[in-house]
Structure formats: C-alpha cells, structure tokens
Amino acid sequence: MTASDAAVAEERALVEAAQEGDRAALQSLLDRVARPLYAAVILPRIGNPADAEDILRDTLLRGMERFDTFRWTGAGVFPWFRQIAVNQVIDHVRRRQRRGRLEDRFEEHVNHVVPLHHAGADDALIEAQERAASSRDLHAAMATLNDRYRRAVELRLLEERSREECAAALGVTVGNFDVILHRALAALRKAYGVG
C-alpha cells in the first residue's frame, strides 16, 4: 500500500498532538482504527458481536492508557492497536475456555501480523487489507475439509443461500443439511483455529 506523504504526515501530527493531550486528535485516530479493528480483526476471530464490541472497548481503553508509550515507526497507529486487540482476543478466548492453554494454531492465527504499511491509510483500506489476509487463512482452512463439508460452508455462509437451497444442492433433507453444516463448522474450527 502506498499512502501519500501528506496523509502520513497528517497521521503523525495527530499522534503527536494526541500525546500532548489533544483529545480531538486522539478521537480522530480512534475513529480511524475502530471500525477495521472491530470488523476485520476482532469480529472474524470471535464471532459473537456483543463480545467483539466489549473487546473493541477494552482495546481502545488500553490503547488510550498507554498511548504515551507509542513511538512512531512509520507504520502508523493501526498495527499498534491491532496488536492490543489481538492480545485482548487471546485473553478473551483463554477466559472462555477456562484453561491456561490455547491451541497453538489459534494463537498463531491471531498473532499473524500483516506486514503492511498502514500509516496514512483510511479505515476502509486498512479493513480491506485485514479482511484479505484473514480470508486467505479461512480458505486455506476450508481446503482441508472434505468436499461435502466445504460445500456446505460455501453454500450457506459464503454464498448465503437458504437452507432449502443448500439441502437441495447436496441432495439431502434440510434436517440432514443442518447436521452436515454443524459437523463442517466443527471441523473448520479445528482447521482455522479456536475462537
């Protein structure tokens, strides 16, 4: 990604102003990162919108508390907030699982850092980049499923067809399709990472 020098300079100026206590500048930065964090980083790893909203709130609060420790490296503030969000996601899953060990694949998945230059980028572009990276991981996980399971996920969740259409496409009853989709998602969860 290439961002104009003016956009990078603007973001850097916002960071400096925010670190000097300018709340309007801080809000501008939060507005820039909040939606990509929610829609492309947190929600696709959590699933539950209410939990994802709580995690976004905790992420922003943690970021504000520590914002004076942020050091400009040229990549912008998004990767910094993204890492906080990823840590919050891991903490959330760990608490939910009520055990001290996460499946390695999940931790590896959520820690996957996209080596992109985010400084100066608008939220839509950041979100698109994040989403593209996560989609690649998802499709790689789906490729490990058997054909009927993969087809069930594709039809119902990617193509958003009705249960009746999905069942007809697989040549089963709607009830049987529900079971197939349930098993497909359980298998996908193992391949894609616990969340």
């Binding site: 909040a34 929610y38 829609a39 492309a40 909203e53 504000m64 996560s134 009927r148």
Partner: protein
C-alpha cells in the same frame, strides 16, 4: 425441522445423535437469526466468524465503532477525573514535603550564616589589639599589691 435420520447418507459420517441433532437445529435457527439469544456453541461461533469475514455489515460495524469510541473516550475521561483527586493529594503531599525541606534548608543556612557573622563581627578588640604595657602586662602579684595598697589607702585614709 425435518427428521434427518431416515434418509441419512452414510457418506456424511455416522447418523447424528439426539444431542447433535438438537445442536444442529439450534445452530440453524441461530444462523437464520430466528432466535433472539443465540446458543453459546463453538460451531455457531465459527459460523458467525465465517459470515463476519465473508459478509461484513459495514453500517453495523460503523455504528458499533462510533458508539465504542464515544464510550471509551468518556470512560477514559471519567477514569482520569477519578484518579485526579488522588493525584492532587499525592502532589500536595509532595509539595508539602518539598516546602518543608526547602524551609529547613533555608533556616539551617541562615542559622549557620548568623553564627558565622556573630563570630566574625563581634570579636572584642581585646583579642585582637596588640599587647601593650599596662595592667594586662603586669604580673599578677603586682596587680594584687596595687589593689591592696588602694584598699589600705581607703581604709586608713593616709599615705602608705
């Protein structure tokens, strides 16, 4: 929901148990949005994750982001104000200690200066004046003799 077991295809694995059937039904209803409160199942979370990735609801995400930013800023400000009285208390205590230390140093310095000045400026001339012939240079016996002679003179009223 139709009964899945009569025409279950063995290629799709073993027939589902009653529990699995119930979970699959709940999953289907939750993904359809037919239930207000979705069951907390791993399969449903995975389904929602896939859906969130494949079909982002931009308007909903924008609304959530705006709400959370506003709430977080307000909460951050409230937390700062909550901490402020304690910070002021600590700052006041530190300032008080600082004033005390500075005052003590000032008093000590002035006391030392005063003592030094007294010693330096009020030295009696007797300590610095050169010794010259006179009473001070006379032996003690002669002083005594003079005193005795004066006493006799005053007592007897005559010349010695």
């Amino acid at each position: 929901m139709s009964d899945p077991t009569p025409d279950w295809n063995p290629e799709d694995g073993p027939p589902p148990s009653d529990d699995e059937l119930a979970e699959a039904t709940a999953l289907a209803r939750a993904l359809d949005g037919a239930v207000a409160t979705a069951p907390d199942s791993e399969a449903l979370r995975m389904g929602l994750r896939v859906r969130a990735l494949a079909h982002p609801d931009r308007d909903a995400a924008k609304a959530v982001a705006d709400r959370v930013v506003r709430d977080a800023l307000q909460q951050h400000r409230s937390a700062w104000f909550a901490r402020a009285p304690r910070l002021r208390l600590v700052a006041g205590f530190v300032a008080l200690v600082g004033v005390g230390l500075a005052g003590g140093a000032y008093v000590r310095r002035n006391t030392e200066r005063s003592a030094t000045a007294t010693t330096a400026t009020t030295v009696s001339a007797v300590f610095t004046a050169p010794v010259e012939p006179g009473a001070g240079s006379m032996p003690a016996t002669r002083l005594y003799d003079r005193g005795l002679r004066d006493y006799r003179a005053s007592l007897l009223g005559g010349d010695e």
